[in-house]
Every structure is written in C-alpha cells, then in structure tokens.
C-alpha cells in the first residue's frame, strides 16, 4: 500500500495523535506549516464569478484554516467531470462513497488511522470520556453561511438526542446513556460520555458517524418545530405527513436517498447536488461547491473536476455495457464481480480505461454459520458439537471450490484479518483448512452419526435423516450458490446431506436474523475488526451473527429478550465491551485478540476462501487515483482516496 496522502492540519496546542491501529508503525503526522493565505487558486468558472462580484474571493470562501491535501501524484488542473454509473434504486450510498462523508473525523486512505477532517483537531482526556473538537476558522457551508459550533449543537441536541426525531444511535451512547455536548465557544465543542469510549473517534470517521455535522442549522431548522412556529403550514406545502418526514425529505439522512434529492440543502461536500437523485431520475449530477474547505498543497481550492455525473441504469448489465463503451470514468461498485473481469479486461482499450485494485480489508467472501441456537434440540446439540463443525470444515475441498467457482482467485481461509494485519489471528484463520474426508468421516462416526440411509447419507441419532439446509441469497453474490453447490457435493462424500436454500433477500432476513428459523446461512465476513467495525463472527453482537441470533438479541436488549448465551460467549461479550471503551489502541487489540482466542477454541463458524481483492476501472487520463483502495464502507471507499483531488490530464 502506498500511503502517500498526508494530512497537514494547522498547528494546535495539545495534539492527540490517534492511532487506531497500534500495531501499525506509528507515523506521526507531519506538523502543519501551511496557512490560510495559501488558498489562492480556484476554478476558472469561479474566478469569473468572483470578478463579476457574484462570489466572494476564494480566501474568504475557504476561511483561514482550510484543510490542506497533498495530492497523491501531482497538483492538478481544474476542469472536466467524473462519470460513473448508478443504479435506479437503493444506490444512494454509491453517491456517498464517491463524494465522501465529510465527518468530524475520517480514515486515512490506507484505512489504518483516523484523522480530524471537518474538525481541525480533537483533544481526548486520558480516560477516553471527554472529546473536545476544535473547528476551522471561517469554514462555510456550500451556500456561504458560516459553519460554527451552533451547527453541531443543533445537530446533536435538536436531532441526535431528540427521541421525537429518532432514537439516539448506540454510537453516541456509552453504558446505555447518551453523550452530552456543550459549546465551549463558536469554534469549540465538547462531547462527554458516562463511561470510557475509546472507539468513539473511529465511529465518527465512519460514514454513519457524520451526524454531528450533517445538517446546516440555518437551513434545516426551518423544518424543525422548535424553530418554525408555523411548521404545520410547511408540512402541508410539501405534502409531507409530519415534521420528521418533512425534515428527512428536505435534509435527508446519512443513508437515505433523499440526502441527494434536494439541491437547496447546504452541505460540506466537495460537490453539491445539481440534478437530484430522485425516484425515476435517469441522471444524477453534482457540481463543485464554491465554498469547499480543502485546498491542495499549492493552495488551490479543491475539487479539481467540475462535476460528478452519473447515468442511472436499472440493470447492472447496462452499466457493464456503459463501461465497455467508455462512458464510465470511475467505477468499482456493480462492476467488480470476478466473473465480469474478463469482459471488462478485454475491453480496456475499447473503453480506454485501466484497472485498479479494490482490496478487501480482511476476512472471507463467504462464511458458513451453523445455527448454534437452533430451535430443534437435536440439530442444536449436533451443531454445538465442535467435532461436527471440524468435520464439515475439513470435509470441504477449498482449493477445488476456489478453482471452480472463484476463477482460481483466493486462498483457503477460515475468517479474520490477513497475515499483515495487526489483528491477524493465525489459529483462528488457518485451522482445519486441509481437505481431509477421512478425518471428517472419523469425526462424524465418533459423535454418533454412524448410521446411514440407503443412499449412504448419515442419520441423526434419533434415526431422522440429517439434512442441513443452507440459506443463501443468490442475487447477493452470484458465486455463493455455485460455491454451495460444490460444497453440497463434497459434503455428500462424507455422508452429510446439504440442501442449498436459495431465498429472496427479504425472506432471508426474515428467516435468519429475525426468525432464527434457519439450519445454517451464509454471509460475507469481509472485515478486520478495527474500531468501527463489528467483529460479528467472533462475538454475537449483530444481526449478521447468524450463528447465535438469540444471543445477539439478549446482548442488545440488555438481557430482556433472546436467550442468555453460554459462558464462553458471555466472556467474549464482556471483553468486547471493554475493548470498545479503552482509548488505548494496544489494549484494545489485546482484548480483541483474547476474544479471537476463545473463538478459535470454540471454532463456531467457518469460511472458504480469503476475500480477494476485486478491481475497479479508471479512465486513462484521470490522475491522482491510487492503484489500490481498501474497499470498505467504513472508510467510505473509494472516497477516502479523496476524489476531489483527482483531475484530468489533458
């Protein structure tokens, strides 16, 4: 990984360098030398407007403390647009990933550390309870209004902590208590938690942690009943059902499409909506934000390119055709299926694009979760036999599956971060990978599955035939049903009957995460357990922990619903709470490793192949695009590589 982007923040008195990943070599941030007056360059079109008196000068627009970005390759030139392909529905996060989330914090391009972003700097008390954010002097919303501590107070007090609007996300709580916020001065805000909360800054760096700076008070308050005495009138005028609906309609939320549906809404993004992403749109266009608060190392205001321009297709295939036809300048999402790689590779010249790598942060593409809390007691007992799980794992010929279903790309892997990662846990990731049907048979015979039916398939001790039905969403990853069909045939060799149960996606959720009605289910586990991520395969804390859904419910409800987990799980839950609280990265790592130790010993879930890097396409001539991005939502990939710093070489 070539981590060339460096963040230079203007000097601040007591700087806390946050090293989210203590295992990674500590690279202290280069002390900032750049200053406000460095905002000198701007796009020609904006310069014209300034000359015409329609826009204040650039230095005034970016304020005195803009964030200075050192471009990856070179300082760029202004102009052009980046075209990408959106799908017509539920693809709003694609936009988010292109634009970036502009929160108080953000991940570095290599997804190893978090840095202040909208905040100029942050102070953290040693216990990890009090976080003080310093904002940038003269920073403005995209409509030119100043961005101040009042905006954060509005966001937090009137919305985030306002149960009328929505329940406070757990991200802003510790020990079940929400945080409190105070405005120290116009440019300083202090967040205080009940209990230590070391993961907080990483949480803020995830796109889901943008809430404190999401809404512009001067605009969005008109849709809030506390600020608008005639709110009913506004609701009626906009055909909304209530003020919450009105608010979402006008100002959006992090993950809903209406975020990109209102061109009037002031944002902190490098581009602002020109043609909204709304139901039935065929095109989505964003144009540069004249007040964007980042400059390059030579003081030129970012972004370089004038616009983002997406055609909206219904079918993925037409996106691929668009790419081949050279009508897409950048794309990872929808195009990165390994199966499509040959077609896209063959047409590189025709479409005038190159490939970049979209690296996985770790983990496996497909993980198999047996339901350890199965409603049928016999199956439950069986699934809870460690030997049974080992037998199934060694009963899979992973290499064959990789060769056949994954085009040879991959490497046998159980799950967890890769070797070069600080959270790498060798035993957990690499035990029981060898294909060994004999051992599998022995193990199965040893746990009372020695009876077989006429077809040679094993019977349960009660005499019932043993059948494991594996739930899968075939549309999710096309290779999953293929892989499962191969596994079905391999398991049949060791006398275990498996059925692939292909389900429509909602049905899948209803049956697994909500109903706990599954025998087994497959899901992706592409993760590295860094703060902000949920290690749901080693500790049952999330709806995707399909190996113990009732335990997840028990944990998340504080014990009021679900089922109390066994001791080993309870211990891991305790350790996880501790890990989440500690502000010390190394201590956090230790705690997670302890969880992984227990998980490795239990061997509850098993995977097939390391999640392989996929690819993206970049039009030749588009500069400052890294050759590799870590493709994870938590870093808003690929926006952590700062598309605002990309430019077109003539």
């Amino acid at each position: 990984m070539r981590a060339k982007l460096t963040i230079k923040s203007p000097g601040f008195a007591r700087r806390v360098v946050l090293k989210a990943l203590a295992g990674v070599a500590l690279a202290p941030l280069v002390a900032s030398v750049a200053f406000a007056q460095s905002a000198t360059g701007e796009a020609p079109a904006l310069a014209d407007l300034v000359r015409a008196g329609q826009l204040p000068p650039v230095a005034e627009r970016v304020g005195s403390e803009p964030e200075v970005i050192t471009p990856l390759e070179s300082v760029g030139s202004y102009g052009g647009e980046i075209r990408f392909g959106l799908r017509g529905s539920s693809d709003h996060n694609h936009i988010l990933r292109m634009v970036g989330s502009q929160g108080l914090m953000r991940w570095n391009p290599t997804y190893t550390e978090v840095h202040p972003a909208v905040a100029k700097s942050v102070d953290v008390d040693p216990e990890g309870r009090i976080f003080t954010f310093h904002l940038r002097e003269g920073m403005r919303w995209s409509d030119g209004e100043p961005f101040t501590a009042d905006d954060i107070m509005f966001n937090v007090e009137d919305l985030l902590l306002n149960e009328d609007f929505a329940p406070t996300p757990p991200r802003y709580m510790s020990s079940g208590e929400p945080m409190t916020v105070e405005k120290v001065d116009d440019l300083t805000v202090r967040f205080t938690f009940q209990a230590p909360y070391g993961d907080f800054l990483s949480e803020l760096a995830s796109p889901l942690g943008q809430h404190p700076v999401l809404y512009a008070k001067h605009y969005c308050s008109q849709f809030h009943p506390d600020y608008n005495s005639d709110i009913e009138q506004t609701i009626r005028e906009n055909n909304a059902s209530d003020w919450q609906n009105l608010f979402l309609q006008k100002c959006g939320d992090i993950e809903i499409p209406s975020r990109w549906g209102n061109p009037e809404r002031p944002t902190l993004d490098p581009w602002i909506v020109a043609t909204p992403y709304s139901g039935g749109a065929t095109r989505f266009v964003m144009e540069r934000n004249p007040y964007f608060w980042q400059v390059d190392s030579e003081g030129n205001q970012l972004p370089y390119v004038d616009a983002l321009n997406a055609t909206i297709s219904q079918d993925v295939e037409s996106l691929i055709l668009a790419a081949i036809g050279g009508r897409i300048d950048f794309g990872i999402r929808h195009l990165d299926t390994p199966a499509d790689r040959p077609v896209l590779a063959q047409n590189r010249e025709a479409g005038d694009y190159r490939f970049i790598a979209a690296a996985a942060p770790g983990g496996v593409d497909m993980i198999i979760n047996l339901n350890l809390t199965h409603k049928d007691s016999e199956l439950r007992d069986l699934f809870n036999e460690r030997d049974f799980r080992i037998a199934l794992s060694v009963g899979m010929d992973r290499q064959e599956i990789i060769e056949t279903a994954l085009l040879g790309e991959g490497e046998p892997w159980q799950h967890g971060p890769f070797e070069d990662h600080p959270y790498f846990h060798e035993l957990l990731s690499t035990q029981y990978l060898e294909y060994d049907p004999e051992t599998a048979n022995d193990l199965l015979d040893g746990i009372g599955l020695d009876q077989r039916d006429a077809d040679g398939m094993r019977l349960l001790p009660s005499g019932r035939p043993l059948t494991i039905r594996v739930d899968v969403i075939p549309t999710f990853r096309p290779q999953w049903p293929d892989m499962l069909q191969l596994i079905e045939q391999q398991w049949a060799q060791i006398g275990v009957r498996m059925e692939v149960n292909a389900l429509e996606r909602t049905l899948f959720f209803e049956r697994t995460s909500n109903g706990n009605d599954h025998d087994a289910a497959v899901w992706a586990a592409i993760q590295s357990w860094v703060p902000g991520q949920v290690p749901q395969q080693i500790v049952p804390i999330h709806q995707d922990s399909r190996w113990g859904i009732p335990w997840v419910n028990w944990y998340n409800s504080g014990g009021s619903t679900g089922e109390e987990p066994p001791a080993s799980v309870l211990e891991r839950l305790r350790l996880y709470d501790l890990a989440r609280g500690t502000p010390d990265p190394e201590e956090r790592r230790q705690l997670i490793m302890q969880i992984a130790d227990i998980a490795a010993g239990e061997f509850e879930v098993f995977g097939v192949s390391k999640s392989v890097p996929t690819y993206g396409i970049v039009k030749n001539g588009l500069k400052n695009v890294p050759e590799e991005v870590v493709n994870t939502f938590f870093a808003t990939a690929p926006a952590q590589a700062l598309p605002q710093s990309w430019y077109w070489q003539d």
Binding site: G88, Q249, P257, R283, E504, T506
Partner: protein
C-alpha cells in the same frame, strides 16, 4: 341509450375499483418483511452498514407495524382524496414521482400499440385473404418465432451488439443532453429517434399474436353472406374486403384495445428494466422489490385503473362501432 350504457358501465367500475385496490394492496403487502428489511438487505448487499436503531424508528414512523386493514384503510382513504402517500425510499410524495414516468410509459405503450396495429393489420389481412399461400406460411412462421422469443433476451443482445459493434448506446429514451432538458420540439424529436428500439422489441410478440387474431377473425368473416351481397353489387375486391369483412373483423380487435394498453405497460416492465427506460415499469419493479408500498401500490392501482378504464373504453368503442351492441 348509449349514455345509459356508459353510465351503467361506469357505475360498475366503482365497486370494481375497490376490489382491485384491495387485491393490489394485499399483493404488495403479501411478501414477508417490509420496506425497511429490504432497505437493510440492499445496503448490506453493497457492503454498507445499516443503523439498526434508526431502522426501528423509521418502521414505527411509517406505520409499518400496523395491521393490514388499517394500513389499507389509511392508504385508500388517502388515495380517494388524491393523496397517494409518500415513497419510503425517496421521501417524496408518490404523485410527484410517478407523473412523468407514467406519461412516458403511456407514450411508449401508445407508440407500441400504433406500431403493432400498423404492422399487424395489413399483414393479418394479407394472410387471411391469401390463406395457405407462401406468404401466409412465412408470416405464420415469423409470427410464431416472434411470439416464442422472450423480449428481454432480444433486448440485451441488441444492446450488446449496438455497443460493441456500432459503439452506440441504445438504452434509455433520450440522448444525455436531453435527459433533464425541459420539453421542447427538439426533445420530442430526440424521443422519437430513441423510442423505436423498445417499440420494436416490445411490439414483436404483440404483433405476432395480433396477426394471428386478425387472420382468424377475418377468415370467419370472409365467407359471410353480406360479403357475397357486396360482391354482387359490383364492389371491387379490395374495397369490398376493406369495407365489410375487415370492418367486422376489427370489432373483436377493438374490444382488446382497452386490455392491450395496460398489459403493454405491465408487460414492458422487464424489457424496460433491461433497456433502462425511464418508464413506469422499472420503477414499479424496484418499488415492488424494495417493498416501497405506497409507490408500488400507486403504480399497481394506476395500472388497474388503466385496465378498468381500458375495459370501459373498449366497451364504449365497441358500442360505437357496432350498432348491435349500442342498442342492446
């Protein structure tokens, strides 16, 4: 008489409307889960994380946890007042979303209908008049192949060939420069230059079946005594066939107009999806798949209403062109 007849038909349409709306609503409510589970599922599919607590709050806000009949009542009472509700996905009033899409759908369907009729009628007449000729057999064979080939298959292959071999983009209904432009003559011309591809793809199978129907209808009429009467008058063969048997063979045709229309719109869903047409179809499909209830509901209801209106129009048209029905 005619007025009375129309009035009676319209009165009938009212209970019909409610029955259809109830079924439509039941259908879109039938799948397990709701918009938010789909929402979560979609985001998860792209590797995005979902805020679970936020989802639960939204579910309550949308009233998704209410019983079926209450949801239906809320919806239908709104619909009667012209309020189709709010799209969950887009947070916009449904009526705003579907307006232009429906209009384009109707345009497309109309163009397809005209195309099918323009092609099918003469061919059908030819095929009936020249029964068992070489031409008839060729038409029959081509027609059946048209019937037998799934539309979406044709659409995708056509698109690929256009992109790879001609460097042309055949998807959509507008060139990029007109996509968001306000309506103008130039935009209309642009639409006309794009619409023919989906029209042909959509129209093929309809044309084929129409040719078959026309042929059969006309064969029934060709030997009726009134044809002999007209022939005995000294009418030329062409005028004779066009004025008498074709006119009567058209009657069953006209009675299908009303049906053809909504069926074309709903049948175009898959093709429109493949071709990324900005019509109602893909949006309906998405809304259904995303369980965006009110949006899907409005679409289905509109389609049903189109059908009901279609039936009405068919019946009235039939009454207009066939005096026997008018005076029944």
């Amino acid at each position: 008489m005619l007025l009375n007849y129309i009035l009676r038909r319209i009165l009938w349409a009212i209970p019909f409307f409610f029955a259809v709306s109830l079924i439509a609503f039941a259908l879109i409510s039938a799948p397990p889960g709701d918009y938010l589970t789909t929402f979560a599922a979609t985001l998860a599919q792209s590797g995005d994380m979902v805020d679970q607590a936020r989802l639960d709050a939204l579910r309550e806000r949308y009233g998704l946890d209410q019983p079926f009949l209450i949801k239906y009542w809320r919806w239908i009472s709104g619909v009667i007042q012209g309020d189709f509700g709010i799209s969950f996905e887009w947070q916009q009033p449904v009526s705003q979303l579907i307006g232009e899409r429906m209009a384009l759908s109707v345009t497309l369907a109309l163009a397809t209908l005209i195309f099918t009729w323009a092609v099918a009628l003469p061919i059908g007449i030819y095929s009936a008049v020249r029964k068992y000729s070489v031409g008839d057999y060729v038409i029959t064979a081509v027609g059946f192949i048209g019937l037998a080939t799934p539309n979406f298959l044709v659409a995708l292959v056509l698109m690929y060939i256009a992109v790879v071999h001609f460097g042309a983009d055949v998807s959509g209904l507008f060139s990029p420069e007109y996509q968001d432009a306000p309506w103008s003559w130039a935009k209309l011309a642009d639409l006309a230059s794009h619409i023919w591809i989906p029209v042909i793809i959509l129209g093929t199978s309809a044309t084929a079946s129409l040719v078959r129907i026309m042929r059969a209808n006309l064969l029934d009429e060709l030997h009726k005594p009134y044809v002999t009467t007209a022939r005995a008058k000294g009418l030329s063969e062409f005028h004779l066939i066009m004025k008498y048997p074709v006119r009567l063979a058209l009657n069953p045709f006209v009675s299908t107009i009303g049906w053809a229309f909504p069926q074309l719109i709903s049948g175009a869903v898959i093709t429109a999806f493949v071709l990324s047409l900005p019509t109602a179809g893909p949006m309906l499909l998405q809304a259904l798949l995303a369980q965006d209830m009110y949006l899907a509901g409005a679409f289905i209801l509109l389609l049903c209403c189109l059908s009901i209106v279609g039936m009405l129009v068919s019946d009235i048209l039939l009454a207009l062109i066939d005096p026997r029905i008018r005076y029944r």
